[in-house]
């Protein structure tokens, strides 16, 4: 039976690993737990053990190769097995993965793979070290192989304190190996500064007092010792590119209006049990908004459009993108032909897409082809905002919270559920008046939802 050898993912930020050396040659017998190869990340070098016994059949990458995490780098199998000549791509790796918690492949190119539960050499079955969950987490966070930590608990169970004292001892050992003057050492230890990364300006790199002071001054300018960064990669990178592209090319105008949601609320209350009975799902204001927006887009075709090359193509269908917040990002799956959908269908389709988005199961075709986007921040304490157009579309609607507010109805002060809509449009394509007309229509439809029936 063929078993893949993966490039392990050893930390949240690890995207690729560099193979330093293999310890087994193709054809070598391999026992579970044998050290197969050594891998370098930007932080550590780590030995990768075999998860399976058999024969190392294939090595796809040699020393110095940089391989994405979770990529198949080799195969272990029975002597008679034949491994493919080329490594399967990442999705192939996922399909044939038999190793739970390890080769969690990315299902979309915009999503990053899930963090494996354990460091590979901590997860080796058979000789899995006894450790508390806190110790495992600490080991993961500090990139410590649990095997190297001596447990102080019952039957050698490793506690978090054991991991921490192991790390402290390792740091101390590293500091002792650094050449530094006694004064530099005292100052560094007093300030809890690690001597190892400090570049010494003394004879043969000896760390002097001034070097430590420079490091202290540099550390002072940083908010914390462990720099917390958002890496501009994967989905984040795409969002960054697209948002700045849109913000810097389309002259955005945002107009707002406030809607009395009394009638819409009443309608939702009436339809909720009906739709729930039919679909098992609860009707939300978002879906009612989608319905109303689709109807209005049909009446205002200039807002339902896409830039294609140098033209703006008006779209026949209301293909409405719904902004969905996902872990570390934002996805906009598209509901096609929204104007033809009844509310029950809308509820099912939109909830299905939102669920897929959160579970990283969207397909590329779910994410393109929109003609308009709706972004709902109404679940937060947000009244209005200035949404950025999801290009190549030309307009986007932002939905604020529904809040009881004083409203003047027929000359009388009443408390009504009020909601603010924010419409951003690309002024190259749409002028103020048609955009205002669309927003006015939308307000009327929401305040008198029977219009949807017309």
């Amino acid at each position: 039976m063929l078993n893949e050898v993966f490039m392990p993912k050893l930390g949240m930020t690890m995207e690729t690993g560099t193979i330093i050396q293999w310890f087994k040659n193709p054809g070598d017998p391999v026992k579970q737990g044998d050290i197969l190869l050594e891998v370098m990340t930007d932080k550590i070098n780590i030995e990768v053990e075999a998860y399976h016994s058999g024969v190392l059949l294939k090595r796809y990458f040699e020393a110095d190769a940089v391989v994405p995490v979770n990529h198949v780098i080799g195969y272990i199998g029975d002597p008679g097995d034949t491994a493919p000549d080329t490594p399967p791509d990442i999705s192939g790796g996922e399909a044939s993965s038999s190793n739970e918690g390890e080769a969690q492949g990315a299902s979309s190119d915009q999503a990053s793979a899930a963090e494996p539960e354990n460091l590979p050499n901590a997860a080796t079955s058979g000789e899995k070290p006894r450790a508390t969950p806190a110790a495992r987490k600490a080991a993961r966070d500090r990139h410590v192989a649990l095997q190297q930590v001596k447990g102080s608990g019952e039957h050698g169970r490793i506690h978090r304190a054991d991991v921490e004292s192991y790390v402290a001892a390792a740091q101390k050992q590293a500091a002792a190996a650094v050449r530094a003057t006694p004064l530099a050492r005292k100052i560094a230890s007093d300030h809890g500064v690690d001597l190892a990364p400090i570049e010494g300006s003394g004879e043969r790199g000896k760390v002097l007092r001034s070097d430590v002071e420079r490091a202290l001054a540099a550390a002072k300018n940083q908010p914390s010792r462990d720099k917390r960064v958002i890496k501009m990669q994967g989905m984040r990178k795409i969002i960054a590119q697209r948002m700045s592209q849109s913000a810097y090319t389309a002259p955005h105008v945002t107009i707002t209006t406030t809607v009395d949601m009394t009638a819409a609320k009443a309608l939702r209350a009436e339809l909720l049990p009906v739709i729930e009975k039919q679909t098992g799902l609860r009707l939300s204001f978002t879906e009612m908004m989608l319905k109303a927006v689709a109807a209005c887009l049909m009446k205002h075709p200039t807002l339902n459009a896409r830039w294609e090359n140098d033209e703006v193509v008006l779209q026949d269908d209301a293909n409405i993108g719904l902004a969905v917040s996902v872990k570390d990002g934002l996805l906009v799956p598209v509901l096609f032909g929204t104007q033809r959908m009844g509310l029950a269908e809308l509820v099912m389709k939109s909830k299905e897409l939102a669920g897929k988005a959160r579970e990283n199961r969207l397909k590329p075709e779910d994410l393109s082809g929109g003609s308009f986007t709706v972004s709902n921040l109404g679940m937060y304490a947000v009244d209005s905002f200035t949404p950025i157009i999801n290009q190549p579309e030309v307009a986007i609607l932002g939905i604020g919270q529904i809040q009881e507010k004083p409203a003047v109805i027929g000359g009388e002060l009443k408390v009504r559920p009020m909601m603010t809509l924010s419409l951003s449009f690309d002024h190259r394509v749409v002028d103020g008046a048609p955009a205002a007309a669309f927003l006015t229509d939308l307000k009327q439809v929401l305040e008198q939802p029977y219009q949807l029936l017309i």
Binding site: T181, P182, L183, A184, K186, D190
Partner: protein
């Protein structure tokens, strides 16, 4: 016209050292020196004065020896023989420098250089005027005694440190204007030779830049040898008649007169700018202004030693010479003045490095000071030389050695231990663990640092 990579103007302890380093770095070098090699240090300063100070100390020792069981009868001082001995010492050392220049293939031109902004140098020698050219020039023209504008002084046959060794005899009496390092050393020399010495110092104590306790110890030692000290005293007027210098001085508004056979003016030194006039260098007060690379305001022209001011010590000039030579040879070195030892060769000697106690306290750092008196030191007791102390000034938090001041025998040699700890960033902790040889005066430092840590054994 001869052309060189580097021309050094001045052959003193700054200039000749710079020349040798530049030559070792593969540059063609010329040294232009109008007088003897070795500069003030070798010919009119450190070396001749140390030679005589040693003789003075020998005389002192002989005087003291009777009490220890060595009786010599009255001693006789032969000034000419002393100067002869002094001359031999200087000749030996000059020969040494000359040899070093030859070995390093450095051209030595005996003449006075005048530097032009084009880095052409006009050399006036006995044989006539010649010209040469250099890519880089290191100015090491040194300094000369400063003669203050005291009423009546001009034109009188007074002595300076340049002329004092040319005196015909040991004078009966001598007045020294200036109680700094130079004045103190001459007071020590001549008082040992039986001259009635009077020192007039404007500041409120001798060697005012040094630790107050050191200055008191020195004053006490000089007074014991009959030196009259007038501190906080300003010389108002000087006259000369009948082989006697007369001097009127004032202190706290009171004026008094004094007379002596010789008058030595030792109030400091001014830079020697001869030959630099046409460069139009940016100045820092009286001195040539340089940056930490010892570059002057003109590209490719460096300056070192007394002409740039600062410590005005031979070993600082040499250190500056090494940095300037390296930079002139294309390196990028910086002058670091953090650890500069300062020595006064009186009896007792005074040596210090880093901050004085007062400077350290004024710096705002939390400092702890430990003093150890030599009267508890075995070697000092056996030598009968227990006047003095060692004082270690260290920062309280890390035990960083901020400064050391010492008074006593051998302290000018011992100061290098303190300098080493500072240079290598050792702290009292390491010093307290260092085994010092017994019996030595240097053990007193061991006691002081252990005392600093509250772990002193012998006090």
């Amino acid at each position: 016209m001869d052309s060189f990579d580097i021309a050094v103007i001045g052959g003193g302890p700054g200039g000749y050292v710079a020349a040798i380093r530049a030559a070792k770095l593969g540059r063609s070098v010329v040294v232009i020196e109008g007088a003897e090699l070795g500069g003030t240090c070798l010919n009119r300063g450190c070396i001749p004065s140390k030679t005589l100070l040693h003789l003075a100390e020998t005389a002192e020792t002989i005087k003291k020896a009777a009490a220890y069981g060595i009786k010599t009868g009255p001693i006789e001082l032969d000034w000419d023989a002393m100067l002869n001995r002094q001359g031999q010492v200087m000749k030996t050392l000059r020969g040494g420098i000359d040899g070093l220049l030859k070995v390093n293939r450095i051209r030595h031109i005996r003449g006075w250089g005048k530097v032009l902004p084009t880095r052409e140098i006009e050399v006036t020698a006995e044989s006539g005027v010649s010209k040469l050219r250099a890519d880089k020039v290191i100015l090491a023209t040194g300094s000369k005694p400063f003669v203050p504008p005291i009423a009546g002084l001009e034109g009188l046959p007074y002595q300076t440190s340049d002329t004092v060794f040319q005196m015909q005899r040991i004078p009966q009496s001598m007045t020294i204007i200036g109680g700094g390092v130079i004045g103190a050393e001459f007071a020590a020399i001549f008082s040992a030779f039986g001259t009635k010495v009077t020192v007039v110092e404007a500041a409120d104590r001798m060697v005012p830049t040094e630790d107050e306790a050191a200055s008191q110890a020195l004053a006490k030692a000089l007074k014991q040898r009959g030196v009259e000290l007038y501190t906080g005293t300003k010389v108002e007027q000087v006259g000369f008649g009948n082989g006697q210098f007369t001097l009127s001085a004032s202190s706290d508004g009171k004026t008094f007169g004094h007379s002596a056979e010789e008058l030595l003016v030792a109030v400091g030194r001014v830079p020697n700018l001869a030959g630099l006039e046409e460069l139009g260098l940016r100045m820092n007060g009286r001195f040539v202004d340089v940056n930490e690379h010892l570059e002057t305001s003109l590209a490719n022209i460096y300056a070192i030693g007394d002409v740039v001011g600062g410590y005005q010590l031979a070993h600082v000039a040499s250190a500056e010479g090494l940095v300037a030579a390296a930079n002139a040879a294309g390196k990028q070195e910086r002058m670091n003045y953090k650890v500069v030892p300062r020595c006064i060769y009186t009896h007792p000697e005074i040596a210090s490095v880093g901050m004085t106690e007062k400077e350290a306290r004024q710096s705002g750092a939390a400092v702890k000071v430990q003093t150890y008196a030599l009267r508890g030191n075995g070697k000092a007791i056996s030598m009968g030389d227990t006047d003095g102390f060692v004082k270690v000034i260290a920062d309280e938090k890390y035990g960083e050695i901020l400064g050391v001041t010492m008074v006593g025998p051998h302290v000018t040699e011992m100061i290098t231990t303190a300098s080493s700890f500072m240079h290598l960033e050792g702290t009292v902790t390491e010093w307290a663990q260092l085994i010092h040889p017994h019996p030595t005066v240097s053990e007193s430092l061991y006691e002081a640092v252990n005392g600093w840590m509250g772990l002193g054994v012998n006090h």
